[in-house]
Amino acid sequence: MKLMTHVVVGYPTIASTIQIVKAMEQAGADYVELQIPFSDPIADGPTIMKACDIALKNGITVRDCLKVMKTLSNKVSIPLFFMGYYNTVFHFGVDAFCKQAKAAGAYGLIIPDMPPDEEEHEHFIKACRTHHLAQIRVITPASSNERMKLNAQVADEFVYCVSHYGVTGSNADFKKSLKPYIARVKKYFNLPIALGFGISKPSHIRAIKDIVDIAIVGSAIIKIIDKYKNPKTRIREIKKFIQDILI
């Protein structure tokens, strides 16, 4: 099973983001999401929301995020994604953002509030194609078969499945109903299956490892960052967390 981890760029500082992502690769992460902080992140729970707020208060801009991507893509060899909200991309200019994200070394984009239905107005997916960025689609247990079909038509690399009805970091139950949900996703997506939202401990990974291909861990690592203020201890704890979760 593969692992995708997550950071909020600039939380708590740009230097720490760079160290943390390097440590994530060393500990065994296969992909990392670099979240661009945004004022109104509607799919995120309190942990990531607070991290976004602090990063913004520290003055982190989209250009800073691009610089961090550039630095990191030269230092690590795993694929790095930008995760963010559509208003950030829209304000930067959709085509300009995609172009610069690619130039900075991003592998792809995860933008949960830009549904394919609005493509005709936004030309966002087109810009991803033009600049060779993977387009990660997010699917949920609420998604109808029609929604699955629509998203599958434009999805690349893997499909990001939200594990349960909730926001990031909320408690998940990986026992019930996960199998039929993932079976339904597989009917429409001919891609590896990634599962996220609420994955925070080894027992969660054990519960899902035979069902999905990639586990996504976000809020749980932000909580470690919150807990350990000393940079060295923090890096050690993040590495330990990732290694434990992968055993």
Binding site: S39, D40, N87, P115, T140, A142, V162, V167
Partner: protein
């Protein structure tokens, strides 16, 4: 049918776009619920039985029609146009918000939802949501920014008495837009059995059109009432605009009557030149996509939502309803703003001249009337929407006016 079959050339296309505005930029989790809501919305527009039920409760529960009142003293004082006040403050729960709350509660019943989620700024929408929840048997949770809870404490009290759970929102600016975020997250988590009773003509499709259609009763009545009183159309309509529910309610039925001028009044706060200290989207706002829809938002150059301010919690919101952004672009509706001070002056004047206590939100609209009426001839007619009454504003008004006796009373009470 009288209401729901009404259309204008300014309506959204089938996917909820008003020109470049509107749309449905929602996370995937919410799209099926929005699709379901849209299907029901399309169905009720063709269902005379639904409209009949809506009218029944408007009449017997809300107390409609609300009066269209000739403000003779204010008219005399300003010395120009004849001023009529559409007094939505006399509705059950004290504001126009009950109109769309009733409509959405009937819809939620059709969809067999068990629980209503609402956000509120001034608390008027929250009280109306809690009211319909009590009447029609829904559980109800209302999100309200901590800042607004302080400003509008009486409404919190009444929501709780009505059985709603009021959850303080501690994130961001702790005002209306943060309450919308929190409500959306609750909906994401509980979408199976809950309906999001969104409180204005904003958010992802179909909310802007849905709430407008429930609010059009205001303009529908004004048209008939003015026909009876004056035998003609109004020359000018004025209403305050945050998301736009009361303004669109008044304007919608007149959009295609090109002789009728319409002015939306935004919250000028401490002055529109003071960045972060007003909520006037057309003074420095830019195009963006936030909270599920595209419109003009007050935001920074990175697309992060800016701080806003208004003396009235109900107008303290960074985005404008998408249909209004469109109506401004095509030149159909004009916009202006009124500062906190102008709104307070308008409040005082209305109280003393007419014996009517307008909500601070509605006082912004009256401030524009004070500017417009003297410039117009005596045979012209202005209709202003008094979207709510001021009971909820007792603490803010007392503080703003420096009422010493009230202050003493509060201090004694707290002992």
């Amino acid at each position: 049918m009288k209401l729901f079959n009404f259309k204008t050339k300014y309506d959204a296309d089938n996917s909820g776009h008003f020109g470049i505005y509107g749309g449905r930029y929602a996370p995937e989790m919410l799209i099926p619920a929005l699709e379901q809501l849209e299907r029901e919305y399309v169905a009720i527009k063709k269902d005379p039985a639904f409209e009949k039920e809506f009218f029944y409760y408007l009449k017997t529960y809300v107390g409609r029609p609300s009066p269209l009142y000739f403000a003779q003293n204010l008219t005399k004082k300003l010395g120009g146009a004849k001023i009529y006040m559409k007094n939505e403050g006399l509705n059950h729960t004290g504001a126009h918000k009950i109109n769309h709350c009733l409509g959405q509660a009937l819809l939620a019943k059709r969809m067999k939802k068990k629980r209503l989620i609402a956000e509120t700024g001034a608390g008027q929408h929250g009280v109306a949501a809690a009211t319909v929840a009590a009447r029609f048997g829904f559980d109800c949770t209302v999100y309200m920014g901590e800042e607004d809870i302080k400003r509008q404490r009486p409404n919190v009290f009444w929501m709780q008495r009505l059985g709603a759970k009021v959850i303080p929102v501690m994130e961001g600016s702790r005002t209306l837009k943060d309450a919308v975020n929190a409500a959306l997250k609750d909906w994401i988590t509980n979408v199976k059995d809950s309906h999001y009773l969104l409180g204005s003509t904003l958010g992802p499709h179909p909310f802007p059109s849905l709430n407008r259609d429930f609010q059009q009763i205001v303009g529908y009545e004004v048209r008939n009432q003015l026909q009876e009183l004056e035998g003609k159309l109004p020359d000018m309509l004025i209403a305050c605009v945050s998301g736009g529910s009361n303004a669109l309610g008044l304007f919608y039925r007149f959009l295609e009557d090109e002789s009728v001028r319409m002015i939306g009044v935004e919250a000028g706060g401490e002055g529109v030149s003071k960045k972060g200290r007003h909520a006037s989207r057309f003074a420095g706002g830019t195009l963006g996509v936030v909270q599920g829809y595209k419109t003009i938002f007050l935001q920074d150059k990175e697309g992060n939502i800016a701080q806003t301010h208004s003396i009235s919690a109900g107008l303290d919101y960074p985005g404008i309803g998408p249909q209004f952004a469109y109506l401004k672009d095509v030149g159909r509706v004009e916009f202006s703003s009124a500062t906190d001070k102008e709104a307070l002056r308008a409040f005082n004047l209305t109280v003393k001249c007419e014996g009517i206590l307008p909500a601070l939100e509605s006082s912004h609209a009256i401030a524009e009337v004070i500017k417009q009426a003297p410039k117009l001839s005596k045979d012209t007619i202005i209709v202003v929407n008094i979207s709510g009454r001021a009971d909820k504003d007792i603490f803010i008004v007392a503080e703003a006016l420096g009422d010493k006796e009230w202050d003493k009373f509060i201090k004694e009470k707290s002992k």
